[in-house]
Symmetry: C2
Subunit: 207 residues, 2 copies
DNA sequence: ATTATCTATAGATCTATAGATAATGC
DNA sequence: ATTATCTATAGATCTATAGATAATGC
């Protein structure tokens, strides 16, 4: 057989790996890496524990696979920020996409938050290799818009941090938001309006 | 002996409990509740594991004690928001106090973040009993300022969420901030200026 | 023939306790 | 006498593997 030979995964392989990753996302995002157990993942996935280990090398393998696969999804909204678009529209749309993502993919948001919170022990290299180049590039775009007077003078790095923080807050701190707004209140509409208004104000700001 | 009798703790009692709580804060804030072990806490505290359990009933007892004791510190900056002060000054000073706290007490910030991230399994009641009343009260103050035209029309709940999110981000996501700004950059000065400028803009906003 | 699953269990880790010993305070 | 600490270990939990058995694809 040729060197780079790799058997095509069977349909069952493909499906069970997806089932396991989805179960693991539930468990890891709720309990953190150490708090999650293979028993819980197996139970969520409807498979036996040894069977989980037939599809993945171990607990860390599952976690790393999840993080790697989700990184792309996670960066996507920032990738779409278009240097040639209208600056204010581009930034406000980016805020909206991030908020949508936090509310549609709260498990993913919490998985990342937990990993970063613990010092990114397994994701550090991915941050350097994937996130940082994109971040630097988009900061330059925003700095260019500021310099050209198309938006207010602003620190691009901290602007992006503020966008991440305010949008992901609704996923990562959902337990607290629910207590404070009441379990029957859907924060989506009001959050969206608040963030739009807030970031509009700072982009217009003549300080 | 009278009913409510409680022996005064000895000096060693007092000191060792503090030593253990400080060690536990290190360990819990870095690894989360499940990820932390009594071994790590004992090692950090310079005490034997059974000795830890001489001072506390168990792992959960230590964690709960930490969370309860820190709740007060954590709410303090919001308590200080003065209904009779100048609205813009009060809010901007609050932002500054929260940022100072995130940078001075990052372990505390991460401990709370981890607890909320996992659905506040041990802190839920404290949120209802301590945080919510204060939150509601201060939201009314801010709503009053808005209604009186002293600051721009704004959603008080989401404004507070945005303040929490943007300031605590520098503690909770420090690993990411460090990668993106470079390990040699101190974010404090630039973050402070950015947040002041941002929240000034939204308070002034005439939408 | 190969892929997938199951039973049984090894070996490590972790929380917690029992019971003996040492240190401290009256 | 009381408080504090230590050694030893019980009992539970967890990751991972060995080896047998069942299901699937050619």
């Amino acid at each position: 057989m040729p060197d780079g030979d790799q058997k095509k995964p069977s349909r069952i392989q493909t499906r069970n790996r997806l089932v396991i990753l989805d179960a693991a996302l539930n468990v890891f995002s709720q309990h953190g890496y150490r708090g999650a157990t293979l028993d819980q993942i197996a139970s969520e996935a409807g498979l036996s524990k040894p069977n989980i280990l037939y599809y993945f090398q171990g607990k860390e393998d599952i976690h790393l696979t999840l993080l790697s696969q989700l990184m792309e999804t996670w960066l996507d909204p920032l990738v779409e920020l278009d240097p040639d678009g209208d600056p204010q529209t581009e930034i406000l749309d980016y805020v909206q996409r991030k908020l949508d993502m936090a509310l549609e993919l709260p498990r993913e948001s919490r998985l990342f938050a937990g990993e970063i919170l613990q010092g990114a022990p397994r994701m550090g290299p991915h941050l350097e290799s994937d996130l940082k180049p994109l971040f630097d590039q988009k900061c330059e775009v925003i700095a260019g818009w500021s310099a050209a007077g198309k938006i207010a003078p602003i620190n691009p790095q901290h602007l992006i941090f503020s966008i991440w923080a305010t949008t992901q807050h609704y996923a990562d701190f959902a337990a607290q938001v629910t207590v404070l707004l009441g379990a029957d209140t859907d924060p989506y509409q009001t959050a969206s309006e608040h963030l739009r208004s807030m970031f509009t104000a700072i982009l217009r700001n003549k300080a």
